[in-house]
């Protein structure tokens, strides 16, 4: 079984410019050299794709998938290692395959064909098919700059598959375009697989890769994490994605963490939230919410008050409440302890809310310490259809078919 694509310890380095000397003045007068950092977008990747296989490359956004694909396509020259491709290759990188905006779709088809190495007479014989597949019969003689992004993608895809490539590289393009076109693309790709063409398919959509690919490579931050049978690789990739998501959720979870020592060495050791169902990171409107604030101080606190503020992510405070509002006055407290705030029925509607907890001196108003978490918890509206920030008790009155009025009241 011959390898159509061979990559051996492929590595590509990019420059990130901090300051770029591009103009004459900068180079000659300022004598400024461009300052840049280098980073390896793709590092030490090796794989082989046998003829007739569909090869998937999965990874999160920014993991180096597209860079790898561009190295295979020969657009980028690797800094280390080598890659070789046998046979005619066509690629669909991002949207469109590099059209000239001022030229009509038809002219771009000829130009693209020539770029991909097809004789004009061959293009003459398939141009109707290309236009038909792209559903652009009416617009093919208009300049492509007037095309929508969907039309652009359809034309690019249609050209690439009609170029009759031995190797087709596809970079996430199937995500664009309407559903019926996507389905036809998939059918066509399936047909090409049956014909024994070699496909390389880049995606962060694991399920698409699972459906299409025989073998698969997973890269993460430019480094090869796994390679082999699609099922195994995709499972490992999905596992990682799920772990990552769980971690993200944990960031808005029950334990909001504490702070370092503030004024007078007072610190908040921890802020924990709990709902009626124990620990949570999301709560439903109308449920009970408790916030336990654990503090530590070098000596007993005199005349202190606690303040808790709720706010929707990135907006003004919705509710700010202090212990002295509850006529607790300036409290004299032991050096260590826990203060609990309970909201019996959370009024907030669907959304992510922030929580800020402060300890202040009641006479000067000065803050000892604070903990501020812009994404503290999530509220799910549940079955309620009210929209807004908070559920405000209300009542509707409507005339009934019956002359006597019927009251429909909100249960909030």
């Amino acid at each position: 079984m011959d390898s159509v694509i061979t990559a051996e310890s492929l590595a590509k380095r990019f420059r990130i410019y901090h300051q770029r000397s591009e103009t004459l003045k900068e180079v000659l007068v300022d004598r400024r050299r461009s300052r840049y950092e280098e980073f390896w977008a793709v590092n030490d990747i090796s794989f082989e794709v046998p003829e007739g296989q569909t090869f998937g490359i999965v990874g999160a956004n920014g993991s180096g998938k597209s860079t790898l694909l561009k190295c295979i396509a020969g657009i980028l020259v690797p800094d280390r290692g080598r890659v070789s491709v046998k046979g005619r290759m066509a690629s669909l990188l991002e949207v469109g395959a590099g059209f000239h905006p001022d030229y009509s779709g038809r002219e771009n088809i000829y130009l693209n064909g020539a770029i991909l190495g097809l004789p004009r007479r061959y293009i003459n014989s398939v141009i109707d098919e290309i236009v038909g597949f792209a559903e652009l019969e009416q617009f093919i003689d208009n300049p492509v700059r007037n095309y929508s992004s969907g039309m652009y993608t359809r034309l690019g895809f249609s050209i690439a598959i009609h170029m009759d490539p031995d190797v087709l590289l596809i970079d996430e393009v199937l995500a664009v375009g309407d559903e019926s076109f996507q389905r036809r693309c998939m059918d066509h790709i399936e047909g090409m697989r049956r014909e024994g063409r070699t496909l390389v398919f880049v995606s962060h959509a694991a399920e698409t890769v699972r459906k299409l690919c025989d073998r698969c490579l997973w890269i993460d931050h430019g480094v090869q994490r796994a390679a082999g049978r699609t099922g195994d690789v995709v499972d490992a990739y999905i596992g990682e994605v799920n772990r990552h998501e769980t971690e993200l959720l944990r960031a808005i979870s029950a334990d909001l963490g504490g702070s370092g020592p503030g004024w007078m060495g007072v610190r908040i050791a921890g802020v924990e939230m709990s709902g009626s169902e124990g620990e949570f990171n999301s709560i439903r409107t109308g449920e009970e919410l408790s916030i336990r604030i654990t503090y530590q101080a070098p000596e007993p606190l005199r005349g202190a008050r606690f303040r808790a503020s709720f706010y929707p992510a990135g907006r003004d405070i919705l509710l700010s409440t202090r212990t002295d509002d509850a006529e607790l006055g300036g409290m004299s407290l032991p050096p260590e302890g826990t203060v609990t705030l309970t909201v019996p029925q959370v009024p907030f509607l669907d959304g992510v809310y922030g929580l800020k907890v402060e300890i202040e001196d009641i006479t000067s108003g000065r803050q000892y310490v604070e903990v501020d978490r812009p994404q503290a918890f999530r509220v799910q509206g549940g079955r309620r259809f009210e929209v807004g920030l908070a559920l405000i008790g209300h009542r509707w009155q409507v005339p009934a078919a019956d002359p006597s009025a019927v009251e429909v009241s909100a249960t909030g």
Partner: protein
């Protein structure tokens, strides 16, 4: 893979494979497609279209003839029309400067394609120089009726034009390749080349007759500097040769200069290809 082979049958039988051009044919086909595009791009949507190829130099010729001939008082070669004199050099010069300017932006202007498709990108530059050449050839054809009107002699020395065009093309191509690749890294080069060709124009004997000022180059430091600049400038010899043919109806006189131009053109193409190949490695990321 047996299963693949088995499945392959119906699909591949129903559709014949597309023919693949050989490496040379492929490049020629792409080149002709690109040239077609570049030539058309120049006059895309203009009313006079290809007429501009001659209108431009004619207008410049008239302006130069009035400003330098009538107002400043530069005289053409004795007994010859100053207008024909200017025009013959101006056409060659226009080709040269246009080719350089078009070549300098040839890669940047096609960034969309360069970023997405790997093919011999050098052809983009070659095509831009050829497009300038096509314009030049059209203007040469249009020059003939003008010469007849101006009662300029036309004869056998016209046969010197094709090799002259080839040498000029070589100079443009060599310099153009370096400019095209350099502009990707250093954008100012595109604008710089406009300025440079403007100054270069006055250093080339297009509007001033070389023979009248030849003596000046032998006196003093400035004369020596001017001597070096003017003699080292390949366009001096190209323009003089065009004037020989079109103004004097004689074979080019400065054959030593033309040998210099030919050697220089070959050297510049060699260097241009080397520079381009070296710089193209990071095109797709820098562009």
């Amino acid at each position: 893979m047996a299963s693949t082979q088995a499945l392959r049958g119906p699909g591949s039988a129903s559709r014949p494979r597309a023919p693949q051009s050989g490496p040379i044919a492929r490049r020629l086909e792409l080149l002709s497609e690109l040239v077609r595009r570049d030539v058309r791009a120049r006059y895309h949507g203009s009313v006079l279209g290809i007429g501009w190829t001659l209108i431009n130099p004619l207008v410049f010729m008239m302006v130069y003839a009035v400003v330098f001939g009538d107002i400043i008082g530069i005289k053409g070669p004795s007994g010859k029309s100053y207008a024909v004199f200017i025009l013959s050099g101006l056409l060659a010069w226009t080709f040269f400067s246009q080719a350089l300017v078009m070549a300098a932006s040839s890669i940047i202007a096609n960034s969309g394609v360069v970023r997405k498709v790997a093919f011999p990108w050098m052809l983009l530059t070659v095509s831009s120089v050829i497009a300038a050449l096509v314009n030049f050839l059209i203007s040469l054809v249009l020059l003939v009726p003008f010469m007849i009107l101006a009662k300029a002699p036309v004869g056998l020395p016209l046969l010197a034009i094709p090799p002259l065009v080839v040498v000029t093309f070589g100079l443009c191509l060599g310099l153009g390749l370096m400019l095209a690749a350099g502009s990707v890294y250093f954008r100012d080069l595109q604008y710089l080349i406009n300025l440079a060709t403007m100054i270069w124009f006055y250093l080339t004997p297009v509007i001033w007759p070389f023979t009248r000022y030849e003596g000046f180059f032998r006196h003093g430091t400035i004369g020596l500097l001017a001597h070096i600049v003017v003699y080292a400038n390949p366009m001096t010899w190209i323009v003089l040769s065009f004037q020989d043919v079109f103004v004097f109806n004689r074979w080019p006189q400065h054959w030593h200069g033309l040998i210099y131009c030919t050697v220089l053109a070959v050297a510049l193409i060699w260097l241009g290809i080397r520079v381009f190949r070296r710089l193209r490695r990071r095109f797709a990321e820098e562009i």
